[in-house]
Structures are given as structure tokens and as C-alpha cells.
Amino acid sequence: MKRALFALALLLAAAPALAVNPDEILSDPGLEALARTITRQLRCVVCQNQSIDDSEANLARDMRRVVRTRVLAGDGERQVLAFMVARYGDFVLLDPPFKPKTYALWFGPWVVLALAGMIALLWFRVKRSVAAPTSVPQLSAAERTRLDALLAEIDGEPHARGRERKP
């Protein structure tokens, strides 16, 4: 029975042979945690968009083993990552390094956000300057309260001034 199962298991070898296997795990929990931190940041260069930690590819398994060998040899996170970059280029890093060619990547989102905020501020300013000279007399406080109450009645939505009070 056991042999038959093993045969079937071999047959099933085509099935994803999932990532990290028990025999790879280091006995020292601290080093193992370090190794996992590193393997999660390394891209499996043959399987698209997976870390070597998640990947079942042979190359990913080999790379995981190399990472653990380096960790056992006393390398830190930076050294192991540099080791892989020297062999596979920046492509191997899931976290793109901060350097001139990625400035646009790292600054881009914040530039967009700042620009959007600036456009909004400008819009408020332009609106106000356009609206100010032509604006009709402001509502008096009493009119304002009445209007707010009216609006609340229609829409049933909260608003600043006409808030319900306990009867």
C-alpha cells in the first residue's frame, strides 16, 4: 500500500510541489525567520510575480537553499540580497531599490498626490475669486437656519446647524 501511494505521489509530482518544504527549514528559529524574511523579498525569476518563498519552481527551491546556506554562514539580510542582485540584477528584488532609475517610481505617487491637492486648492481659490464679486447678499443667520432645516426635511440628511435636539 505504501509503495502504491508513493507511486501515485510520484505521478502527482506534476501537481504544484508547494513552496518551502520541511527539510529546508533551519533548526535555529531566529535564522529561519531571517531566511524567510529574505526569501519573501526575492522574486522567483522564472515564475512570474511570485517570491521564491511562494514558488514551487526548482530554481526557487535552489535559491531558497542558497539563501539558507548564506544565512548559516553568517550573512545578514543586506548581504544575501546583494549576493542575489549581483547574480540576477535588480529584477530579483520584489522591493525595487531606491536609485536614479526608480526615482520616478518612488516619487511618482507622492507627486501625483501633491499635484492633485494643488489643483484642488487652486480650484477653491479661483472659484472664490470668481464668485466673490458677483455673489448675491449672503443669507442672514435666521434664513440660513431655516434653509438648512428645510433641506434636512427634504433629504433627511445631517447638516451643521439644523441638528435635531431633544424635544
Partner: protein, 672 residues
């Protein structure tokens, strides 16, 4: 023989309907536009039957293809490549849209169905707007039908017909993935309605509150479907890929997420146009960009320019064809925007601290978030192009965690505040006072999380606090509007019943996000055990003992399996059983892992059977994913909230045109 001829007829009929659909699209794209320009009612009216005929023809084509799949007609290349006689019926049906060709057919079918819905139910639309919008729909249909007919014909034949098919990728033979594309496309393509209405409004040079009211239900429907589609895809990845990951920032996921982000922004800015008749140009731009991102997603998934886990097989001819469509559709509409938008008259005024201000902030942050995903997704392509293939970078989850998340957090914080602000001019401190219960809940949950898991990840308790803030904040909108605790309970109840459905939709959708955030935060506490286990041995995870009882093998309908049997124990009490499986599909010579998942409110116990070795030991992976199910439940609540809003009488698609509502009159009076 008789049956074979009949079958051949059905396929040919489908093919014929497809080509005829192309012709009809040609008519729909052109005549109504001409009619609207000339003020010719008869020409404009052509749009309605054209859109309806289009939908009917594509339905025929689609069901003809489905029939070919169901009866396993391998003379059709698409069926041969993606089906097998032994495949379960559900996946024969779903196989219709599992391939590139079939999914494109589904894409245009949904487009045509949306068009037919506008044609049939939009009786209250101004005839020019309707004619133009349907014409734009016709143009999109024309482009994609041409794409299908000339580069990706799902009815292409093989002669002689093979006796057996190549079967569908087993990963796709899954109920979650069977319904993922239709839901996703309903969302993607649904945004085409907002796009078409925007283009029509630009041609017309007029946009007002009524326009926003017409566009909103379509946007809402598309948004709800896209929410569901993305959640379903994420759920599928979670249970099927075998390690409990649910979001990978993969280009294909991003392709669906970007339209969702902008679509969410559109949904909110359309409210401002509708209620306050301002932010018009911006809303039009959003409508264009949302659908443009859907189109770009289609390009990215099908052109092969980006590497991803689940793209369709790349073909440069197809990529270039879609690129051409992009240039015409997006380039054309943005050019129209550049010409016409400056002429749109400027709308009403509001203070930065106001409901409109809140919605604007929502738009800013969502747009920035979408831009972040966009930059991250396309940056590898940029580097590749600039270095002419000599350099490559990866942009993985760490980038998105460092940029997308910090943009989303202020959005989520503000999300509870916005609905508490009044239109035009709000009172921030009053809003915060009303949100005191939400703030209290957030702090309590954060503290509790720290107390329960003092040595866990630091940010996760704050995530849970944020979730509580959102859920309670969402519910507070209802409390506020019913005056609960301020007036008598019966009065509150009466008000609750009287509330528009949109108010419930808002509360549900906002609270749903909170639940999703809770689920995401919970994943930080994931517990993982990877061990080599023999039958009879045990492992302990999250307080539960799992006893490995046996391994059995057997045959499924079109696969063989190896199944582990585990018993869950607490003490010596049996709590339940789990059966993780490994499957092997002989036709495609590939396999899948079927995780056993035991779901509870607290989280998922997730068990995977790995490879065995000669000693009879198996690699067993056990995970406890705290709060994981909350993600899908939260997304479901959001989707449900969208549909609840859709039933709001104000947005009923067929509702007769109303004279300006009292609210609009009052708002106009206030603006003067």
C-alpha cells in the same frame, strides 16, 4: 450524422450572428450620431432597435459557442483547445468564457446587453443624449467585434475535427473561477455606460445634475459587480493556489483594481454633480478614465507586454489591435475632453469643509491611489522600454505596501467623517462629536487587540481599530439620520423606514470596507506550520490538534486524487474532520492542490497536503488565517450596499423624468 450536421449548423449560425452583429454595430455607431447632429428624430431612433438587435445577435453567438462546448464539438478550435468530453458540465459551460476568444465574446455580449438595457429602459432620456450614448456604445462594440472576428474568432474550425479535446487548465476548473469573469466583466464593461454618457455629453457640450442622475445607476451597478468580481478572484486565489495568499499586486489583479478605484471615485463625484451641479469636468474625466483603465486592463492581460501569473497566451497581432482600439477610444475621448471641457460652465461654490469637500478629498486620494497602482504596474514596462530590454526591475508587494497603503489610510479615516458633514459648509468639530462612539469603538478594539496579542505585529491592532471606526462610523450615518437616542425610538423607526435606500447603501458599503479592513489586518497574525508528518502523528495549530489519520487515493470525474484525512481535536474531543487533496489531471498532465479550510468567525484553519516521500511521511502545511473570511464577507456587504442603493427610487432606471426635485429647487435657491 444527422446530429453532426445540426451541430455544424448551430456553430455556423453563431458565427453568422457574430458577423451580423459587427454590421449592426456599424449602423449603431454611425446613424444615431448623424441623426443627433442633424436633429433628425428618425435617424436617432435607429439606435434603439440597433442596440437591441445587437444584443440578440450576440446572445445567439454566445449560446451557439456554449452549445459547442456542452456537446464537445471539437471541430471548433476553441472547444478543442479548452475542453474535454470528461470535463464536468459546469466547466463545459464555463469553458465558453475561459479562453481568450470566448472571454472576448462574453465581453462584447455584456457590452451589448448594457446597450440594450439603456435602449429599452431609458425612455426618459433626452433623445439626443440617448442616441449619442448608444452610438458611442456602438463604436466600442464595433471595435471589439472587429477584433474578435479578425484576430480571435471563437468559431474558427479545425478540419478534420480531433476526436478529443485538450481540456481546460485544471486551475480554472473551479466554481469560484467559473463565475469570476462574468462578474468582473459586468463591472469592467458596465463602466462603458458612464464613458458613453460622458462622450455624448461632451459632444453635446452640456452636462447637468440630470446627466449625473442618469449615469449613476449604471456606475453603481458596474461598481457593485466589479467589487464582487475582484473579491471572487481574490477568494479563488486564497483557497486554490494553496498557500492562503489572497492579493499579490499582480499586473492582472491591478488591471481590475485600478478601474475599481477610479470607479469608486466616479461614484462619489457623480453625487456632487447630481446634488450640487459642480465638479462637472472632473466627473466627465473620471468617467472617461475609469473605462479607459478597463480597456487598458484588457490590453495588459491579452497583449503579453507584462508578465503575470494569469495572462492569456500572448500574440503581438492581438496586442497591436487592442492598442489601436485604445488609441482611438481613449485618445479620441480625451481629445474631445480637451476641446469641450473648457466650455462647460462652472458650477456652484462650496467650502473645503463640507460634504462636497469630503467627496473631493475622497476623489483626490482615490485618484492618487489609482495612479500609484498604475505607476507600479507599468514601471517595469517603462524601464524595459527605456533600456531597450537591457535592464529590468520588479515592482512587488513591498512597493505597494509603502505607497498605496499610506494613501489609503487617510482616506479610510476620512471616510467616516465625510457623510457627517453638511453640504456647502460643514462643521468638522460637530462631525467628530457625532463620531465619538466610532472613535471610542476604535480605541477599545485597538487596546483589546494589544492586550490579547501583546507580542504580535504592531500595526495590525491599529488596523482593527480602523476597521471598528469604519463599521461604527458607517452605522452612525443611520443613527444620525434617524435621530436615534435624540428622539423617541418610534420616531426613529418611522424615520428609518422613510430613509431613501441610498442611505442604507452608503451605511452598508462603508461598514463593509471596515469589515474588509479587519480581515486584512487579521492576516498579520497568520500562524504557519510546515512539517513532515506520517499517518498517526499530530500537529498543533492555533490551539487545535490535527491528527493525521490516513491517506487515500481515488478517481474524480476527470482527475485522480490523493486525499489526506485529518481529525481536529481539542483535548480528546473530536471537533471535526478535514480532507486536503492533491489532484492530478491526466489530460493536461497538471495538478492542483485543494486545501481543506475550516472557517469560523475567528478565522480559517487552512490545511494543505504536500508531497510524500519513501518513508510514508507527507509534507503538511497548516495555517491559521485570523479573520480571513471577513475580507470576502466585507466585500459581499459592499456589493450588497451597491445593489441596495441601486433600488433607490431616485435612480430607478425606468423612472419617468421628474421635474427638478424639491431638493434641487431648494439647492438652487440657496445658491442664488
Amino acid at each position: 450524422m444527422e446530429r453532426g450536421v445540426g451541430q455544424a449548423m448551430i456553430v455556423e449560425l453563431g458565427h453568422f450572428a457574430l458577423v451580423l452583429g459587427l454590421m449592426v454595430a456599424l449602423v449603431q455607431a454611425w446613424l444615431p450620431l448623424l441623426g443627433a447632429a442633424r436633429g433628425d428624430r428618425a435617424l436617432m431612433a435607429v439606435a434603439v432597435p440597433a442596440a437591441q438587435t445587437q444584443a440578440l445577435l450576440l446572445l445567439i453567438a454566445f449560446f451557439a459557442l456554449m452549445h459547442a462546448f456542452v456537446v464537445s464539438d471539437f471541430s471548433v478550435a476553441n472547444v478543442f483547445n479548452n475542453s474535454h468530453t470528461a470535463k464536468p458540465l459546469l466547466y463545459k459551460v464555463a469553458g465558453t468564457w475561459a479562453s481568450h476568444e470566448g472571454s472576448m465574446l462574453l465581453w462584447v455580449l455584456i457590452l451589448a446587453l448594457f446597450g440594450a438595457a439603456v435602449a429599452s429602459f431609458g425612455r426618459n432620456l433626452p433623445p439626443e443624449l440617448k442616441a449619442r450614448a448608444l452610438a458611442v456604445q456602438g463604436m466600442i462594440a464595433l471595435a471589439f467585434l472587429a477584433f474578435i472576428v479578425f484576430t480571435s474568432n471563437p468559431f474558427a474550425r479545425i478540419d478534420p475535427a480531433p476526436l478529443e479535446g485538450r481540456d481546460l487548465n485544471p486551475l480554472l476548473q473551479d466554481p469560484g473561477l467559473a463565475f469570476h469573469p462574468p462578474l468582473l466583466y459586468l463591472g469592467y464593461v458596465g463602466f462603458s455606460m458612464a464613458f458613453s454618457f460622458a462622450a455624448a455629453a461632451l459632444i453635446e457640450g452640456r452636462i447637468d445634475a440630470a446627466w449625473a442622475r442618469w449615469v449613476r445607476p449604471w456606475t453603481l451597478a458596474a461598481w457593485a459587480c466589479l467589487t464582487g468580481g475582484i473579491a471572487l478572484g481574490s477568494w479563488w486565489a486564497y483557497y486554490e493556489l494553496g498557500w492562503g495568499g489572497w492579493w499579490f499586486w499582480d499586473p492582472v489583479e491591478n488591471a481590475s483594481f485600478m478601474p475599481w478605484l477610479l470607479g469608486t471615485a466616479l461614484l462619489h463625484s457623480a453625487i456632487v454633480v447630481e446634488k450640487r451641479d459642480t465638479l462637472r469636468a472632473w466627473t466627465i474625466l473620471l468617467a472617461i478614465l475609469t473605462f479607459s483603465l478597463s480597456l487598458m486592463g484588457t490590453f495588459l492581460v491579452r497583449s503579453g507586454v507584462l508578465t503575470s501569473v494569469h495572462t492569456f497566451a500572448a500574440d503581438p497581432a492581438r496586442g497591436l489591435f487592442i492598442l489601436g482600439i485604445l488609441v482611438i477610444a481613449i485618445g479620441g475621448s480625451l481629445t474631445l475632453f480637451a476641446i469641450r471641457a473648457p466650455t462647460l460652465k462652472s458650477g456652484g461654490l462650496f467650502a473645503p469643509i463640507s460634504r462636497e469637500g469630503g467627496l473631493l478629498l475622497n476623489n483626490l486620494l482615490l485618484a492618487a491611489a489609482a495612479a500609484t497602482v498604475f505607476i507600479g504596474t507599468l514601471y517595469p514596462l517603462l524601464i524595459d522600454a527605456l533600456s531597450q530590454g537591457g535592464d529590468k526591475v520588479s515592482v512587488g508587494p513591498p512597493f505597494f505596501n509603502a505607497t498605496f497603503v499610506p494613501i489609503m489610510i487617510p482616506l479610510l479615516l476620512a471616510l467616516a467623517v465625510g457623510p457627517m458633514l453638511a453640504w456647502k459648509r460643514g462643521n468638522l468639530s460637530a462631525a467628530f462629536r457625532r463620531l465619538a462612539p466610532a472613535a471610542a469603538a476604535a480605541m477599545a478594539v485597538t487596546l483589546l487587540a494589544f492586550l490579547l496579542a501583546p507580542r504580535g505585529p504592531v500595526l495590525a491592532p491599529f488596523g482593527l481599530g480602523l476597521a471598528a471606526w469604519l463599521v461604527v462610523g458607517g452605522l452612525m450615518t443611520l443613527v444620525e439620520r434617524t435621530g436615534l437616542f435624540a428622539v423617541t425610538v418610534s420616531q426613529s423607526w418611522a424615520r428609518l423606514i422613510g430613509l431613501p435606500r441610498g442611505a442604507f447603501g452608503l451605511a452598508l458599503a462603508h461598514a463593509g470596507i471596515g469589515i474588509v479592513v479587519a480581515g486584512i489586518s487579521g492576516s498579520a497574525w497568520q500562524e504557519e506550520h510546515i512539517v513532515s508528518l506520517k499517518t498517526g502523528e499530530r500537529l498543533t495549530i492555533a490551539g487545535t490538534v490535527l491528527s493525521f489519520v490516513a491517506v487515500t487515493e481515488g478517481d474524480g470525474q476527470n482527475y485522480q486524487y490523493l486525499r489526506g484525512e485529518f481529525v481536529q481535536l481539542r483535548g480528546e474531543r473530536i471537533l471535526g474532520q478535514m480532507w486536503p487533496e492533491r489532484r492530478s489531471y491526466p489530460v493536461t498532465r497538471t495538478g492542483t492542490t485543494e486545501a481543506a479550510i475550516d472557517t469560523s468567525v475567528l478565522g480559517d484553519l487552512y490545511l494543505v497536503l504536500g508531497e510524500g516521500d519513501e518513508s510514508g511521511a507527507y509534507t503538511v502545511r497548516a495555517y491559521f488565517n485570523p479573520l480571513a473570511p471577513w475580507m470576502w464577507i466585507g466585500a459581499l456587504i459592499m456589493m450588497f450596499g451597491g445593489f441596495v442603493s441601486l433600488t433607490d427610487t431616485r435612480y430607478r432606471v425606468g423612472a419617468p423624468a421628474r421635474a427638478p426635485s424639491r431638493a434641487a429647487v431648494a439647492a438652487a435657491a440657496a445658491a442664488e
